[in-house]
């Protein structure tokens, strides 16, 4: 009965949301920003626009400065470890340190040129437009520490014009998919590179690609789920919500809708047996059968150890594969890519250990850059899908730490241009103020990225038999520690069982044969 009631309630809420969401997308503001004199410009720099915004939105910059979008600083509440882009290593680019104007182009501010220090708390250095520009014209240029272009610039043989700041300022509104995507779709240095479930195909996704964000689906934006509270976003990869015991957010809102349960509850299916899975299996596991489904390949391997090769003429080598992807870059090494990638699955309780720059590492085995906690016996764990990223990256084989590689800059040490690890790592480690033995080795790394976007329509969800199978290719064939019907059995017990059946069958057949052969009447009366 309780179940039935919950079921009904979940349905009612889903219905309420379904009718409410498109309305929210159309809701108009009581202010038309194109009518404000102060936004008509002309603006010579983006901070001037911010200043104009802050004249009315007096608290906005203070709020943003507390968010991870500004601080790049996060203390993991589970492990107590201080994380953030300037500390925590990944298997893609390495460290932003010594590469600032390039890497801090995705900082939600302007002019953060030295990431060894926190960004200066200058109010007008907060970038309002990157999130709120709805003209589509505003863009942070990749190399200017968060600033957009102010003059035309030739890049890759093309002249790129600066954005119309006044037009952008007058267009502001709630962030769209393209706003968040400007940075988050390009994590790792390019479209789709890092996450696998976040790329530019999500700006205008089909229903098949993302049932929530598709225009003919729920037409949601990122922030529909990633609720912002005073400019603080919800949802985190450092501190994952592997299970949301709060469940439905209405009528009691926890102001964090970045879990499926927030809208769908924990018993969202019509079939009770499916609901029986939600305590152990994350929604994403069945409902995101593959990632990188939008036609843009994600990087699955990045091997820095081969970087720096030049041809006979001394020219840096770049090789493209049949699909036009770089398979080798002298700047970055070897790459592999994947589209429609089947995730790997692990138990996860939301606690993750990250490796920071400077941490002692064990180089006797493959280095896990993030170690997931959780197992089958842990009530807080569920089975989650992940993108498994394979890497090989420079480290110090004497001091046993990862190293800062200075890749970007117009100096004689930057790897991109000089192709000399000895110089670029020396520069990077000195810049970061970290000890370095002078030795360079390469260590194989693995990194697991939780898959949670690109939710498919329900008809494309995994079928029971894709996990419940004896087959080697079963989705959970490698996941240990629990009994799963259809996958597991005890070999000797099965043999005994089949022997019993076969023995009985053989026995009665022999007996019957004996009766026929003896050819006697077997009447009993």
């Amino acid at each position: 009965m309780k179940r039935l009631f919950r079921h009904f309630r979940a349905g009612a809420v889903a219905l309420a949301l379904a009718t409410w969401l498109p309305g929210a997308a159309l809701a108009s503001s009581t202010a038309d920003h194109s009518k404000f004199e102060s936004l008509k410009g002309p603006f010579t720099s983006a901070p001037e626009v911010t200043k104009a915004c802050l004249a009315c939105h007096t608290e906005a910059s203070h709020q943003v400065m507390k968010s991870i979008h500004w601080t790049w600083d996060f203390t993991n509440p589970d492990t107590g470890k201080r994380l953030g882009k300037t500390r925590t290593m990944n298997s893609f680019c390495g460290s932003p340190l010594s590469n600032e104007p390039r890497c801090t182009s995705c900082h939600a501010g302007y002019g953060w040129t030295d990431a060894r220090q926190p960004p200066e708390p200058v109010q007008q250095n907060v970038d309002c437009l990157v999130c709120h520009d709805r003209s589509g014209g505003y863009k942070k240029v990749a190399t200017d520490a968060g600033h957009p272009l102010y003059e035309p610039r030739t890049m890759g043989g093309k002249t790129v014009m600066p954005p119309d700041l006044a037009k952008a300022a007058q267009s502001v509104g709630d962030p769209g998919r393209d706003n968040c995507g400007a940075c988050h779709f390009n994590g790792g240095g390019g479209d789709a590179v890092k996450h696998g479930d976040l790329d530019s195909s999500l700006v205008k996704p089909s229903r098949k690609l993302d049932v929530h964000m598709a225009a003919d689906g729920a037409n949601m934006t990122c922030a529909t789920c990633h609720t912002f509270n005073d400019h603080i976003p919800s949802g985190s990869r450092y501190d994952t919500a592997a299970k949301d015991p709060h469940g439905l957010d209405l009528p009691k809102d926890d102001h964090n809708r970045a879990t499926c349960e927030s809208c769908h509850g924990d018993t969202p299916h019509h079939e009770a047996k499916l609901n029986d899975h939600t305590d152990k299996v994350a929604c994403q596991t069945c409902h995101i059968p593959e990632f990188a489904r939008g036609g843009i390949a994600t990087k699955t391997l990045w091997d820095w150890s081969t970087a720096g090769r030049k041809d006979a003429d001394g020219k840096a080598i770049f090789i493209k594969d049949d699909h036009g992807h770089l398979s080798y870059s002298a700047e970055k090494g070897d790459f592999e890519y994947g589209e429609n990638v089947r995730p790997t699955y692990h138990w996860h309780n939301g606690v993750t250990d990250q490796v920071n720059i400077g941490d002692k590492i064990d180089d006797s085995q493959i280095l896990r850059l993030n170690t997931l906690h959780g197992d089958a016996r842990d009530p807080d764990s569920r089975i989650w899908p992940f993108k498994e990223m394979r890497g090989k990256q420079p480290y110090d084989p004497v001091l046993k730490t990862l190293v800062v590689n200075h890749v970007y800059g117009r100096d004689d040490s930057a790897f991109w241009g000089n192709y000399d690890y000895a110089k670029s790592i020396k520069f990077g480690m000195e810049y970061a103020g970290l000890p370095w033995s002078g030795q360079i080795g390469f260590i194989e790394t693995r990194m697991t990225w939780p898959i949670t976007h690109m939710v498919a329509p329900k008809e494309d969800a995994l079928k029971c038999g894709q996990c419940h199978t004896r087959g080697e290719d079963g989705r959970l064939a490698q996941l240990p520690g629990f009994y799963m019907p259809g996958r597991d059995s005890i070999a000797w017990l099965d043999i005994l069982g089949y022997l019993a059946l076969a023995g009985a069958l053989g026995g009665v057949l022999l007996h019957g044969l004996a009766r026929i052969v003896m050819n006697r009447k077997t009447r009993h009366d």
């Binding site: 152990k280 038999g465 005994l496 009993h524």
Partner: protein, 216 residues
């Protein structure tokens, strides 16, 4: 003594027997599918059919237990002497044309071996299946316990063992139905309900008078 066609399996008993047979075949087939032995069905389909069939069989057993006790038929399953003779008969006597060492009567429908086999079926194999089956079906109600991971292993293994035992029982049971006067005699009896039973004159007169058991 007179031999008469007497209704020894009443309508409910036959309904019980045949519906139980269908359900057990369904459960065994879908169960093997869930177990991964074959893949004639999709896993989800197999689970759905298995679950409904299990509920149906449990309901049938509740009714039948009620029927067994209200009619007193449960006594048919009690232990009887002479089991060695019956085993000896099926092992050897049946091959050389010896008569069956047991005589069917209204109060003794089953021989000693039958009673023992059915008793095992009803108090060991059956309950082992439905107890572990219910635990399996309602796994989520105890999944939060600290022992749930080991508990599920135990439940799954015990259910599998009992299912193999049931399969073995059914194979032998079906073969035994061919050991009557003719290979199909017992099957016919279980369909029509009538079998030839020796009655004393007193018994015959009593049954004819009271019509407590049908005769033809």
């Amino acid at each position: 003594m007179i031999k008469r066609d007497v209704m020894i399996y009443t309508r409910y008993e036959r309904f019980w027997h045949w519906s139980q047979a269908v359900l057990i075949f369904t459960l065994f087939f879908t169960g093997l599918g869930i177990h991964g032995t074959h893949s004639f069905l999709k896993f989800g389909q197999a689970v759905t059919i298995h679950t409904y069939a299990a509920y149906a069989l449990m309901a049938l057993w509740v009714f039948t237990t009620f029927w067994n006790f209200t009619t007193g038929q449960w006594r048919q399953y009690l232990f009887k002497k002479g089991i060695i003779k019956v085993i000896r008969f099926y092992a050897w006597g049946i091959l050389v044309g010896e008569p069956h060492p047991y005589k069917k009567s209204l109060q003794r429908k089953q021989n000693a071996l039958q009673s023992l086999a059915y008793m095992t079926f009803m108090v060991i194999i059956g309950p082992a299946l439905w107890l572990t089956g219910i635990a399996y079906l309602f796994y989520n109600e105890w999944a939060g316990q600290s022992w749930a991971v080991d508990g599920l292993w135990f439940v799954a293994v015990a259910h599998t063992v009992a299912a193999f035992a049931m399969g073995t029982f059914v194979i032998i049971h079906i073969y035994m139905t061919t050991t009557g006067k003719t290979p199909l005699h017992y099957v016919k009896t279980m369909i029509t309900g009538y079998d030839k039973v020796e009655l004393s004159e007193v018994e015959e007169a009593y049954l004819a008078e009271t019509k407590s058991v049908e005769m033809r």
